[in-house]
């Protein structure tokens, strides 16, 4: 959480200076007046400036942003975290060096971290309805393209062999990509089987 102190002729002026330093709108901060201004004797002797302490309000977004940044730092990585809300979901995008370490084999580190962030998010902010979607330099978008191509190729194979194909275990989001990719397909249907976290998609002839 970021905090700054600033002085000015009036409380408003001091606050404005602090907001500028923090680069935040007024609704995102908490203002504490440390000293009221006084004009002093004849406006000269003992005149005091207004002094305020302005701190960033902790929002679910700012809390999770700081938390993720701390985790990444402790993992020994130098990276930027960008967060924004989209349809109730909190999107967190990480970019930096050595991002392969954060992604892991087939995204397993990324998924583990996303899972932990979601557990923590809903514990700290139970009123939040959406979920956290963690991405590293568009990894998920690339993965989505790969999964869609995989779905198309496997569908062809299912039609050709007239036999079911069982995919490797995937996260719910990854499974949804496969289901969506093939939902309009005339010759195959898809369903999931097994228990989390080993649930798999099955592509079967219609």
């Amino acid at each position: 959480m970021r905090v700054v102190e600033a002085c000015g002729k009036t409380v408003e002026e001091a606050t404005e200076k602090a907001l500028e330093q923090l680069n935040l709108p007024i609704e995102r901060v908490q203002i504490e007046i440390l000293e009221e201004p006084s004009s002093g004797l004849f406006g000269l002797i003992g005149a005091k400036q207004a002094r305020v302490r302005v701190s960033e309000k902790i929002t679910p977004e700012s809390y999770m942003h700081d938390f993720l940044e701390e985790i990444i730092g402790k993992m020994g990585l130098v990276a930027e975290v960008e967060t924004y809300m989209e349809d109730k979901n909190l999107l967190m995008n990480v970019s930096g060096q050595k991002m392969g370490m954060l992604i892991g084999k087939r995204g397993q580190t990324l998924n583990a971290l996303q899972y932990l962030l979601n557990v923590i998010y809903h514990k700290k902010f139970p009123e939040q309805e959406g979920r956290i979607i963690l991405d590293v330099e568009d990894y998920r978008q690339k993965r989505e393209e790969t999964l869609r191509m995989l779905a198309e190729n496997l569908a062809k194979k299912v039609v050709r062999m007239h036999r079911e194909v069982v995919l490797e275990p995937m996260t719910p989001q990854e499974r949804r990509i496969i289901h969506t990719a093939l939902q309009e397909h005339e010759a195959v249907r898809t369903y999931s089987e097994g228990e989390e976290p080993y649930r798999k998609v099955v592509i079967a002839p219609r």
């Binding site: 402790k74 954060l102 583990a112 514990k123």
Partner: protein, 78 residues
């Protein structure tokens, strides 16, 4: 050192009693063991259903420890 703190930060965010979270680092010739101690009523919070939270913590720590020569284990102790 950072790995010990990594486990500590994650565990503290997960439990109801963060003050009782403690991580001890035990090192021998082959492995580094990070012993995570939490309040007994918080055990479920760091393990999760079918060990899913514990598994996720281990995955993140393993990624962070890739620079280490030794294997790093996370053990949850009451």
């Amino acid at each position: 050192m950072a790995m010990k703190e990594l486990v500590e930060i994650i565990a503290k965010a997960l439990v109801d009693h963060p003050d009782e979270v403690r991580v001890e680092r035990i090192e021998d010739e082959r492995v580094i063991t990070l012993e995570l101690h939490v309040a007994s009523e918080d055990m479920g919070k760091v393990i999760g259903k079918r060990g899913r939270i514990a598994k996720a913590i281990r995955t993140v720590v393993n990624a962070a420890s890739s620079a280490e020569k030794k294997r790093v284990l996370v053990e949850i102790v009451q």
